[in-house]
Symmetry: C2
Subunit: 280 residues, 2 copies
């Protein structure tokens, strides 16, 4: 998905928020904001939103001297882990555990410090368990899984990966899959990295782990390498808006997300707040 | 009120929206956005938000070849006028007509294309007639009016001025006041100008009309002239966020507004969505 002009003020809003997560002084916040405006003015805008966001957040990390979301991510992981047993029960006792696990994995996508300032995880789970999908390609998902032996899973955020863990455990019970997890090679906003994967114990459940770029380490989503990963797996799952924005030029992907911004809403033909399971 | 860093992405969002109201092509929208970013980078940010917004919107008007909100403002005036008789009845039949007229004038402040993209005028009126105030200096307002002979009224937006008309009519019934209305000297977003005042017939109800700057014509809110206006009137009413942002360094003003952004919310010690009648 190409960047829309609305993404420019939104990226600036994001970096401002990120610089506050680092408790940087006002003068430094202004410096970061101004440096980002100069960066954005220099850049070509005919790219995907994450590509510009990567460069923008690298400036915040430079001034913050590290990852502004380190604490926030740990808290998200802990909060999600505290819900894990309860949610596992809900999945296991439901009529269609896969369907329920998909819903819960989508609910976990509410943990997004890029698009949102505040959210209520427990309430979102309750909502998403009941809610109608704006796009619902679940039947196709089940069908593809029946004939699949390899799964590629693009994870999104810290905390959310605990919910992904439930879905991956459910998939494991359904069949003999080789599952490859994709996370960020380095920190950006609250995106999950290897550190988060290990923290929540997800690494023990997958066969391989690969890395997308945070602007510094890993592959850009629209790179030839990532295209090859996608082509070489039978079922591809992509969680969240950032992955949708970066991967949407490829074909053969199941997108699972909560729509959180008007630009993605328009592109995916849904409304802000909608839940989506879309095959494209 | 001094500009906060959050105002910078917000001003960019506003000018983008304004350029869309002009149905400008995408290339021109990008040109306007980039020119605004260069402008903001050149400017000192130690000013009030409206001062920067004035310069930003002047760029949109330059490319739009006129007022992007001309049609929108006419529609707002027409919609408000269509509610006028009904609201007049509500005011006249209420136990405390002034109190009700104040509530309705505040409800009219929802018509704000700067802070909001969408709003429901009728529903807002119904809400605001019931709602508790976050700050409520009504008693002081009544008290000051009892000893006043001159009123200065800073109007805010097109459409909203129909609701102000109801309040001014109610004031007229209460006493012999010399009422001076203040509107914008030229177009900016959906702020009321002389054209709107005449369109809704408000000019016949006031004794004098003065002009604030839109960045091109009239006085800036924090100018010595405006200070003198304020000092020379017994009761000063200021509608809306923009006037609050620009006038808040002065003393002796009754602010009436709906809080619509987190920056004003923090400054005025209220929440987004709150209604306020504050004397300061």
């Amino acid at each position: 998905m190409k960047l829309r002009l609305d993404c420019i003020p939104c990226i600036l809003r994001q970096v401002l928020r990120a610089s506050r997560h680092s408790s940087l002084m006002m003068e430094l916040q202004e410096k970061i904001l101004r440096e980002n405006m100069r960066l954005l003015l220099k850049e070509n805008w005919n790219v995907t939103p994450p590509e510009l966001a990567h460069k923008a957040h690298a400036i915040v990390r430079k001034y913050a001297g590290g990852d502004p979301y380190k604490e926030v991510k740990k808290k998200s992981n802990d909060e999600a882990l505290s819900l894990y047993e309860e949610l596992k029960n809900i999945v296991e006792n439901s009529r269609d555990p896969l369907r329920t696990a998909v819903r819960i994995a989508i609910a976990g996508n509410i943990i997004d410090f890029g698009a949102l300032e505040k959210f209520d995880v427990r309430r979102t789970v309750e909502d998403v368990l009941q809610k109608n999908f704006a796009h619902d390609d679940y039947e196709l998902f089940v069908n593809k899984l029946e004939h699949a032996s390899t799964i590629l899973y693009f994870a999104d955020n810290a905390g959310e990966i605990v919910f992904d863990k439930l879905l991956i455990e459910t998939l494991r019970k359904m069949g003999e899959y080789k599952i490859t997890l994709v996370v960020k090679g380095g920190p950006i906003i609250n995106d999950a990295t290897m550190e988060d994967v290990k923290y929540v114990g997800l690494h023990q459940l997958v066969d391989d782990i690969r890395f997308l770029s945070n602007g510094e380490v890993g592959y850009e989503r629209n790179s030839p390498e990532v295209r090859e990963w996608i082509e070489n797996h039978d079922v591809v799952i992509s969680k969240g808006q950032g992955n949708y924005e970066g991967l949407s030029e490829f074909r053969g992907i199941f997108y699972m997300l909560i729509v959180k911004c008007p630009v993605v809403a328009e592109d995916i033909n849904a409304k802000v707040g909608d839940i989506v399971l879309l095959y494209r």
